[in-house]
């Protein structure tokens, strides 16, 4: 969350701080109230902060994107984990450490995969109508797949 704030220019920093703080407050509200739908709102707020900074700075390619992606995913996972642990259920010894290690591994894997993607984007960076159409189609397909996957989880069986 601190990444967009630390890199913002002096003129934008107050706005960036406010948006990041709003994200932090929403995340805290989600944890305190135990209301999970607030978690993606907090993530989107911080990501929006980052997107605004990228658009305004208009840098070539941000090399910090993989770290930011990894950080966001781990933040979201930690928030959901915190909500799962709210119930008064006795856990196995070491279960917390095991899951923390899993999340650390997930964060590292995310950074690696995102770095590979970033390198790929840097290597084949091109513009034009065809690549825009291809990107739109890929995004639509990805969204469709996500919606299908999410819809499929709601079914009930015996």
């Amino acid at each position: 969350m601190a990444l967009p704030v630390t890199r913002a220019s002096d003129s934008l920093q107050p706005v960036e701080i406010r948006v990041a703080a709003a994200g932090l407050v929403v995340l805290l509200a989600a944890l305190v109230l135990g209301w999970s739908p607030l978690i993606p709102v907090a993530i989107v707020l911080v990501a929006g902060d980052y997107a605004a900074q990228l658009t305004i700075d208009d840098a070539r390619l941000d090399s910090a994107a993989p770290a930011f992606a990894g950080g966001l995913l781990v933040t979201a996972e930690l928030a959901y984990w915190s909500l799962e642990e709210r119930s008064d259920v006795r856990g196995e010894p070491g279960a917390g450490f095991r899951h923390a290690a899993f999340l650390a591994g997930l964060g590292v894997a995310t950074i690696l995969v995102a770095s590979l993607l970033l390198a790929l984007v840097d290597a084949v960076r091109t513009r034009g109508l065809a690549i825009d159409l291809l990107g739109s189609a890929a995004a639509a397909a990805a969204l469709f797949a996500i919606v299908l996957a999410a819809h499929g989880q709601g079914r009930t069986g015996h």
């Binding site: 997107a51 992606a69 959901y80 996500i146």
Partner: protein, 423 residues
């Protein structure tokens, strides 16, 4: 079993969708890279999620226990698939609690794993309990999918009332014909010395009292009291139950009934039961260990069934109330139908004793003047009722602050000095 998506699915789908759309709209590939891990976790997680086929079973080492005694149990958990977090909730009925261990716990299971978790249960009140309902919630490794399942309990745990120490119990005024432990008032062959009388033909030589014969200058023989058994009928009031925070009159009545039945049966007496209330339950008088279990298990079924119809002792089958039986009423002395039934039994010549499970400590005095006045009047009315019943020859053992044995001693004293009471 119910399969559902965790909140992660919707959250990650929203983040991935907004990230991808923003990447296209703003022409910033970094945003697609930020959104990609969320989309990948979703795609991989939902693709790999398989029903772990969890099976849970609670096994008890016994199906009978006593109040407040530990019952060892084991929770066996099996899974055919991988479960990153399996939440288990043992859904216990009111009156049963976990003495050692936890009713809710989490586990991590690999495919084919079987775990046995020891747990100690405890029944806080007597009764019959259906134990073994277990709810589970299993999550896949990425915790995107949740499988919830409820396993219905199959065990019936009977918790018998806790023991009450009774060194002396009430002896009935009259005994029966069979041998037992109660010294009869009649004179016959026995152990306890009763009197001497002149010898008559047919008397056994061994019963001659030689010292008395020498003094009297004629043959006299010893007379003895025989040891006989008695018939006891436990008459349990199930019209009302006055409940406090930690005890209730019906629960205490059943505890007292269980303790009295045990002690009388140990003396080879015959004990029967009448549960007099909304539902009439009875058990023929009998003796022995089997009768003890029958009595206690019948009392475990006792509960208050509200009814407004008038009931009297005519409903009770005649064989349940044998002649010369001691009828022990276990009652809070609140419902007029039960009080009338006690008076009626006394009027029919039964030896009646009421063990009053005192409800006064369970009722709060109230805060307003009217409430306090009502409370005092109610307590006075109870005193009058007790006096009226004692006037009829019914001994009252007031069991509240005193222990049961001391309360029964009150009746023993009453019967010693009030034998001439007539109905």
């Amino acid at each position: 079993m119910t399969r559902a998506g965790s909140p992660r699915i919707e959250g990650y789908a929203v983040v991935a969708a907004i990230g991808l759309v923003a990447a296209l709209a703003l022409r910033r590939p970094e945003l697609a890279i930020v959104a990609a891990p969320f989309a990948v976790v979703l795609a991989v997680g939902t693709r790999l999620a398989r029903d772990p086929r969890v099976a849970v079973e609670l096994r008890l080492t016994t199906d009978r226990t006593v109040e407040e005694a530990d019952v060892e149990a084991a929770l066996t958990v099996r899974a055919e698939g991988v479960v990153d977090r399996l939440e288990i909730l043992l859904d216990l009925p009111p009156g049963v609690e976990v003495a050692d261990g936890s009713a809710s716990l989490t586990l991590r299971l690999r495919p084919g794993d079987e775990r046995e978790l020891p747990i100690t249960l405890k029944c806080t009140r007597w009764g019959v309990y259906a134990v073994g309902d277990v709810e589970t919630r299993a999550r896949d490794p990425l915790r995107l999918v949740v499988w919830e399942q409820r396993f219905a309990g199959t065990h019936q745990l009977k918790a018998y009332p806790g023991p009450i120490e009774l060194r002396r119990i009430l002896a009935p005024l009259e005994t029966q014909a069979f041998a037992g432990s109660e010294v009869a008032r009649a004179k016959s062959d026995g152990v306890e010395y009763a009197d001497i009388r002149d010898f008559v033909p047919g008397d056994r030589v061994r019963s001659i009292n030689w010292r008395a014969s020498a003094r009297k200058q004629g043959i006299v023989v010893n007379e003895r009291h025989p040891e006989r058994n008695t018939d006891i009928v436990l008459f349990v009031d199930s019209f009302v139950d006055v409940q406090g925070t930690d005890r209730s009159t019906l629960a205490d009545a059943v505890r007292a009934g269980s303790a009295l039945a045990t002690r009388y049966l140990e003396r080879r007496d015959r004990v029967g039961l009448v549960g007099f209330g909304g539902v009439l339950r009875w058990l023929h008088p009998g003796m022995g260990l089997t009768q003890r279990y029958r009595l206690i298990e019948t009392m475990l079924e006792t509960g208050v069934e509200p009814t407004y119809t008038w009931r009297d002792v005519n409903l009770i089958p005649a064989k349940i109330l044998p002649p010369k039986a001691l009828v022990l009423g276990l009652t809070p002395l609140i419902d007029p139908r039960f009080i009338a039934a006690l008076s009626d039994l006394r009027a029919r010549g039964f030896d009646v004793v009421a063990v009053e499970v005192d409800p006064v400590p369970l009722v709060e005095e109230g805060s307003t003047e009217i409430e306090q006045l009502s409370y005092r009047l109610w307590v006075l009315e109870r005193e009058v009722l007790r006096a009226r019943l004692e006037g009829l020859g019914i001994g009252i053992a007031r069991w509240g602050s005193l222990d049961l044995e001391t309360a029964l001693e009150e009746v023993r004293t009453f019967r010693r000095y009030a034998r001439l009471a007539r109905v």
